[in-house]
Symmetry: D2
Subunit: 312 residues, 4 copies
């Protein structure tokens, strides 16, 4: 049976695992990321992979990392959390390990895991939304990952959903992730609580009475208790997410949307307003079967599992 | 050498041709469409294909038609210009001709021709916009047509670019094609000329002084003469098209956008404002090579050629 | 008892009447407007006024006309329906008649009639919306007409309610009257019926099956019959009107809004969606008594009556 | 010569002055506001006024306070910074002092000072915008203050300039003051610096490298030094202010807009982008003389001076 190694490179730790053809993790290692030293990061990835390969016999390595990865799946052009700039990561790791290596954007890797083994299993066409601080995404079409001509496809957080809207780090205004991400949820909750402390009382209580201390967890806790203000924040968030999904449905016609990432752990708090807005703005409803909207199933190992599978 | 038959079924005529592997049309037939009689349409398509096949030896048939075609590329679920509702067109034509047949949405077929033989030749990833009365589209990814799980992918005209905007025939409001199509150009020109007849004087002159008579051709002619009002209409149109293209670039990261369809015949009148708006709203400009924006090269036979090729 | 003459100058006819202090018309004359000859228009107004004054003894003349009237209430700076450009109308009529004359914008005159004798009688502060082809308005504050420093106050149709929205004859985009007027109602109905002829079937039937023939009367008739599409058009119209009224309430805090003009004849068809949207967007609802929203009571003689009263 | 007492009641201090008919302050007193005790506030206002009146002989008292003041100018219905709820302030102070007293909203009082003695001196019609944490305003028409039927006119910060925009404390979304106030400036600067720390480097440096520490003063300082990011924030602010002013010009046709309040101290940093956007969105530019846009001249004593004058 074929085994592959998946590596998930984060800003604080690196996790590597041996993954079988069913997406099951056989063995796993974790180390702290050597910050700001790209040579050490490549060396550490390589040594972790070699150790696992020596023990389990894997024949390829897939590496998932936040950032822009080129279309040859070999060079990290830019990474927000690491010092990589045009880093030839594939070559470095292949030279050190002797194993075939591919590099992939982390949201693509995680989305691929959902498509192969998780919520979108068996779908010909799927969109996996990773909703965290921003919105990342993976698009599956014809049962393949859509990578685009530069490897930048699936930058779902950055189409403009609100002309002339909130400023975005990408240089534009009104990008989807400024309205449909965990950060947007927190912005909403802080604004509400600053402007109307009575309405936001429960969230303020959880945050030591300082609106700037409110986190996503506070909003989620209050919403789960039934607090009207927190529910309103989730409703606003879901409405924006659903609107963007409807746009993607017109373009891509997927069988299924998968909601993944930290914010998706809110479950129905998120899913219900999302589906409501999605249905409302879906084109050609009379003719098309409605895409399913499912919660991710692969958890936070999705990136490792997907990266391993993509290296096969 | 392998020959295939391409059929372009329109509301008023049916054109069929024998197409070689380089996309060259070897022979061609045209007949009037038997209106509102789906049996006769299928019979006519079949007899035209048989006639061409008998003479030239083709081994497959590709049919392009406006409307929703299922993911098996066999049934026309709904066609706006013909009486087809859940029409099993592939089966009918295969039974009558004995030749392998596929059915494809016409914008997909035309887009495929551009990807195989025209402006997007050689692209791994491309978006072809067919800008006519509405906006149709074809998406090429991994050198394949993106069809979606129901065959409805590429309904590019129907993502919402303007929340709460102009009413659309699809039941939503603010769809891209209500702002970025030939109809939108005409709406704009008529509004302008009604509201400010001095400004719209040249277009009114061309239209017998009745704003409701203004057509796209009048706008184009006036714009070519340098008329400020007509240029303004094209600028508005291009701005909306460019905005939508920027959204698609974030999602799909194509090498190339191809502007096709009747409106694209305006050439630089359309292309310049489109590119300007596109660049302005393109995310991650620092990192990505900019997609090219090219005019279509295959002309109005693109649907026939693409359909033929897709049947191989 | 004091009598005054009110003159309503339209593009096709001139109506003059003798009006008493209770706003009652004692006598009335009507003549066709001498088109495009400003000398003849001034002469005709003067002769009609003299005839009425000779018979009834009035001591002043008030003239209402569409267009921009200067703050001295004497010169028509620009009139859309007549050839007046910087026309010294007050001086001409005073010289010809020997009677004190004032000129006033027609929406101001009609609004003043509502404030003095009609729906806004007794209000310290009121806004009268004249909803016809466009939106005209009159603002009453401290029981006086608000004329502004150039006589141009109350151009209510031209604040931007929709950034980057529909083109307006005034040179901007997104003006309120492009969404909240009778023209907007017709635009909406024509669009709906073009895009979805099934939905618009009843309106099309009334308009000889040509969407471009649909008029406001057709929409109103269909709506009164309960036709869903026509009711939808009225709902859209009222929503925009209500939104704009909420903006005006924040600025002016009137006791009452009066809906006047041709479109207001639709009564509750218009009033209900208007009030719904108005309440939803009214600021400080907790603290303020809600302004009343009333239908005009003075009918199409309002301009004549108001102009007469303003001349006192 | 007639003297009047003006009292400016803030959340932390009360300032009272004797003001002559030219708006000159003859004498002045300041005391800390007795927090949360409305009886003590009324008593302190009264004693300060009596002391000044005894010494200088004033015959009336004008009190300016943040909040909603009824149309009789006697009761404070709601004050955001004090415990007043339906406080009969006029009666209390008249009983204690024996002097005729009027109560006025503070932005109205300050605006009135500009209209009588400051930047809008001599204007028949003016709008004074007090741009601080929010946007307050005063409208002058026919040389009188426009108070509305409940005393709530001039709530200029709360018309909706951005449908479905930022949440506002008043319960709506998209109110003008959420885009055109000092708070909006700070929100913009914090967002920019969080999302793009390189771009926001100078503002971050001034704020101990924490975007949440950025204040309006930091933005102003950086902008005065020529920092591009800070200038961008001011440009965004001015654009929104100018848009709102254009809406008010269509409604009110003032001779002059006066920019007052803390943010107006930025001078040309604010005025230039404001005027640019204002001109761009002003209706009927061909016909109307453009209103002037001036900076306030009365400084932070404007409220006291205006209140005094309004009591005459």
């Amino acid at each position: 049976m074929s085994l592959a190694i998946g590596v998930d490179v984060g800003g604080t730790k690196i996790a590597a695992g041996v993954v079988d053809e069913q997406g099951t993790i056989i063995a796993e290692l974790r180390k702290a990321t050597p910050a700001n030293d790209t040579d050490k990061v490549a060396a550490l990835i390589s040594s972790m992979a070699k150790e696992l390969a020596a023990e389990h016999g894997a024949t390829s390595i897939g590496i998932g990392a936040a950032g822009f990865v080129d279309d040859a799946r070999s060079t990290v052009i830019f990474a927000p959390n690491l010092a990589w700039r045009n880093e030839p990561l594939k070559d470095r790791v292949e030279q050190a390990t002797g194993l075939t290596t591919v590099v992939e954007n982390d949201a693509n890797a995680a989305g691929w895991a959902e498509a192969r083994f998780g919520a979108a299993r068996g779908a010909n066409s799927a969109v996996v939304l990773t909703i965290g601080t921003g919105i990342g995404g993976a698009i599956i079409s014809n049962s393949q990952l859509v990578r685009g001509s530069n490897g930048f496809a699936g930058e779902l957080g950055h189409f403009i959903i609100r002309p002339d809207g909130r400023r975005c780090g990408c240089g534009l205004r009104g990008c989807w992730e400024r309205y449909g991400s965990g950060s947007a949820l927190v912005t909403e909750a802080r604004e509400l609580s600053t402007l109307d402390p009575n309405l936001g009382a429960r969230m303020l209580e959880l945050a030591d009475d300082n609106p700037l201390n409110i986190t996503g967890l506070h909003v989620t806790q209050a919403a789960k208790e039934g607090d009207a203000a927190a529910l309103d924040c989730y409703s606003t968030l879901g409405t924006w997410i659903g609107r963007g999904m409807a746009a993607l449905a017109a373009v891509l016609d997927p069988d299924v949307f998968v909601l993944a990432g930290g914010v998706s752990e809110a479950g129905d708090l998120l899913r219900e307003p999302t589906i409501k807005a999605f249905k409302k703005q879906l084109t050609a409803r009379k003719f098309r079967p409605e895409p399913q909207v499912l919660m991710a199933q692969m958890g936070n190992k999705a990136g490792m599992i997907g990266a391993a599978d993509l290296s096969r």
